[in-house]
């Protein structure tokens, strides 16, 4: 029997409020385990085809292939660990929205067409907003509000793109769009929608704004799904789109620079997500089989070590109640488990040999180098060094060592340590023996414990293994020198109690400035126009219409008066008397008749 893994979680989530106490915690751990089983048991193929509107093609609710299953595995494994970590938590809102969110992500990954993808995409957006709201603080309300606004815009890009693409091609199939012939407004909009969720600059600020404001377990869960679902959709829809190489490289560097500047440990981790997703996006841009497999493998490992890092940070936040580097430090004695397990995550994200980051990231670098893409390769190598700087050393150093701030707290609860242990195990296991991971990659063949063959479209076979002596040595060189650089320049890395402006400034402050600017500009225009037209111009028109006829007549009459030999003084008197007569409308009939004749004559001549 084929069971849709997303439905297990989404329908299961509805029953969460029926359970109480421990039963609730056990129930929410069992659900992702069941979903994991469902993913494992899925045969390859398309299922649940729904005939929709006539002429619109079938909706395929479940498309099961190696790519979708690889993401299905990691989504459910990570969810299980996250709910074990959250064993202490009995909050219905958080559990229901987390399960809905993960269900949405699974639904998007297994969606066989664009409409199904869009529906699950929006379920994710709403459920994840609930996870941020569950923190129930003023800041989190604000962050959640901005988060949902950005995702609504992203969703609308996607929807508009789907509609236009359907118009072009007459199909709602979700398959790879050709990088040459498939470029049109529709696919560009779909790409934009995906990139908003992948947190590509300038649409990246939602991530560092919202994730650090989520609840402790909420953020652990958030860190894994939205961006990685976007990576999945990019792998599926946009392999070989060269623009993604540029976007990926920008993301990788941007994440590092901002993470170096940040003070809040969870904001550091948020920026390092952007950095890591940059590697995957760049790999999709390269688009060869080994790079795409590298992106899948890296997403797999990234979800594990990134969740582990967020768990470690969450444990510190849970016990100490603070998350700023300027307030933390010296926790190594109080929370040794959180330190060691967090450090394993930090080493894995830095791709230290013997950890999972090394066996996955190396694939992407190998793929980029193999295509002779020097600049992307160099930027990714630089970014690899930078990761060690900001996530590998900075995070554990400032949180657990640096300066002892006198926090004497207990170790994290056992359930938290348990969740971290599971993920730390995977970090090491996949570093020592990446075979099981390699075997689920879409293009993998002849997988052994340490190596695999990847066959390119042109039939070229890459025999890949990360475990080459030269690779290990050069990687250690890069990382050890990065570590040395950190300690050489440590004075420049002292934390300050500040935040760093990002593109969210545009809609957080920019809006207010825009309002003020528009206010000043429009009101000035309004005032000037009022003064010119209403006060000056209309008055002038009034005076003109009142006095113009008499002035014209005086101009006409003056030569006649002069001819009659009037003196200058008498002439002025005559003119004044004339104006007075005109103002009062008191012309004698005869004179009025003459004026009328003169005017008519003038009009006749002029006409």
């Amino acid at each position: 029997m084929t069971v849709h893994p997303a439905l297990v979680l989404i329908l299961g989530a509805l029953l969460v409020p029926l359970f109480k106490g421990r039963a609730k915690s056990i129930y929410v751990i069992l659900l992702p385990l069941l979903a994991l089983l469902a993913v494992y048991a899925l045969p390859l193929g398309n299922f649940f085809n729904v005939s929709w509107l006539a002429g619109f093609g079938d909706m395929t609710l479940l498309r099961s292939d190696k790519l979708a299953k690889a993401f299905g595995f990691i989504f459910t494994i990570n969810a299980t660990a996250a709910f074990i970590y959250a064993f202490y938590l009995r909050d219905n809102t958080q559990h229901v929205s987390a399960l809905m969110y993960i269900g949405g992500a699974l639904g998007a990954v297994f969606a066989g067409d664009l409409i199904t993808l869009y529906i699950f995409w929006e379920i994710m957006a709403i459920a994840s907003t609930m996870l941020i709201l569950s923190r129930r603080s003023k800041r989190s309300y604000g962050a959640a509000f901005r988060y949902i606004l950005v995702h609504i815009i992203g969703g609308l890009f996607l929807l508009a793109g789907i509609v236009i693409t359907f118009n072009y091609s007459g199909s709602i199939d979700f398959k790879a769009f050709d990088p040459e012939t498939g470029r049109h407004a529709g696919t560009w909009l779909i790409l934009l929608g995906f990139l908003v969720n992948a947190a590509a600059p300038p649409f990246s600020a939602w991530l560092s704004d919202a994730y650090p404001e989520g609840t402790i377990t909420g953020s652990v869960i958030l860190s894994a799904y939205t961006t990685k679902t976007a990576v999945y959709t990019l792998i599926r829809g946009f392999p070989g789109w060269e623009i993604l190489m540029v976007v990926g490289c920008v993301m990788a560097l941007y994440g590092i620079i901002y993470a170096l500047l940040e003070n809040d440990m969870r904001r550091i981790l948020a920026y390092s997500i952007i950095n890591q997703v940059g590697f995957m996006v760049c790999a999709v841009g390269v688009g060869t089989a080994i790079c795409l497999d590298g992106a899948v493998a890296h997403a797999f490992c990234h979800i594990i070590y990134k969740s582990l890092l967020w768990m470690s940070a969450g444990a510190v936040l849970y016990r100490v109640g603070m998350s700023k580097c300027t307030e933390l430090g010296g926790l190594y004695k109080s929370m040794p488990w959180s330190l060691w397990l967090g450090t394993i995550g930090a080493l894995a994200i830095s791709a230290v040999p013997l950890t999972s980051g090394f066996t996955s990231k190396t694939m992407i670098l190998y793929g980029a180098a193999d295509e002779k893409l020097f600049i992307p390769w160099l930027i990714l190598e630089i970014a690899s060094a930078g990761v060690f700087l900001h996530a590998g050393i900075k995070f554990p150093y400032f949180v657990f060592f640096a300066k002892d701030r006198g926090h004497r707290v207990q170790e994290a609860p056992k359930s938290m340590v348990g969740g971290m242990l599971i993920l730390a195990f995977f970090c090491i296991f996949l570093g020592l023996c990446p075979g099981p991971l390699y075997s689920i990659l879409p293009h993998a063949q002849n997988v052994t414990a340490f190596a695999l063959d990847v066959v390119d479209v042109d039939g070229h076979v890459h025999h890949f293994t990360a475990w080459k002596f030269a690779k290990v040595v050069t990687q250690m060189q890069l990382l050890l020198l990065s570590a040395l650089t950190f300690f050489v320049w440590i004075k420049w890395l002292k934390r300050t109690d500040t935040i760093v402006l990002d593109t969210d400034w545009l809609y957080r402050r920019g809006g207010r400035l825009f309002y003020r600017g528009a206010d000043r500009f429009l009101n000035t225009v309004n005032e000037k126009t009022h003064r010119f037209f209403i006060v000056n111009f209309i008055g002038w028109i009034g005076r003109f219409t009142k006095s113009a006829p008499s002035r014209i007549l005086v101009m006409v009459m003056t030569p006649f008066w002069r001819a009659r030999g009037l003196e200058e003084n008498d002439l002025l008197e005559k003119q004044q008397a004339f104006y007075e007569d005109a103002r009062l409308g008191a012309f004698p009939i005869g004179r009025a008749a003459i004026f009328a004749v003169i005017l008519l004559g003038l009009l006749y001549i002029l006409g």
Partner: protein, 128 residues
């Protein structure tokens, strides 16, 4: 003031020196191994030069740290930056020049730290 033996092992000057030496030794070994390997072929040629990755690591990290520092001068703002000017009962609006105040305080601290550095050197240790 606690003596060197009373402070935690990890904060002791001797430990820091030891760790720094280990790190330096690690760097040296990794570079030496690269030379010993010899004939490691790079995909682009330049990356085949022994010690290339060491240089790349050091130079790029230094550049990134200074780039971040430079951008920080421009982009770093007080933690309450976005809360400023919002009026509500729970969060009275902080004074406008709060960023300047923070900056002033930190410079003051720095000055005082510099003065006191000689005294507290053992306890705080060099930053390494």
């Amino acid at each position: 003031m606690p003596t060197d033996k009373e402070t935690d092992w990890i904060y002791r000057e001797s430990t820091k020196k030891l760790l720094m030496r280990l790190l330096l030794a690690g760097c040296a070994i990794s570079v030496l191994l690269d030379f010993v390997l010899g004939g490691r072929k790079g995909k682009f040629g330049i990356d085949g030069i022994p010690g290339f990755y060491a240089l790349l690591g050091f130079v790029s990290c230094t550049l990134m740290i200074f780039a971040a520092k430079g951008l920080g001068l421009w982009l770093k703002v007080s933690t309450n930056f976005y809360e400023e000017g919002k009026t509500d009962d729970n969060n009275p609006p902080p004074k406008k020049n709060i960023a300047k105040k923070v900056a002033k305080k930190s410079t003051k601290k720095k000055i005082s730290k510099k003065g006191a550095r000689k005294v507290t050197k053992k306890r705080e240790g060099g930053s390494r």
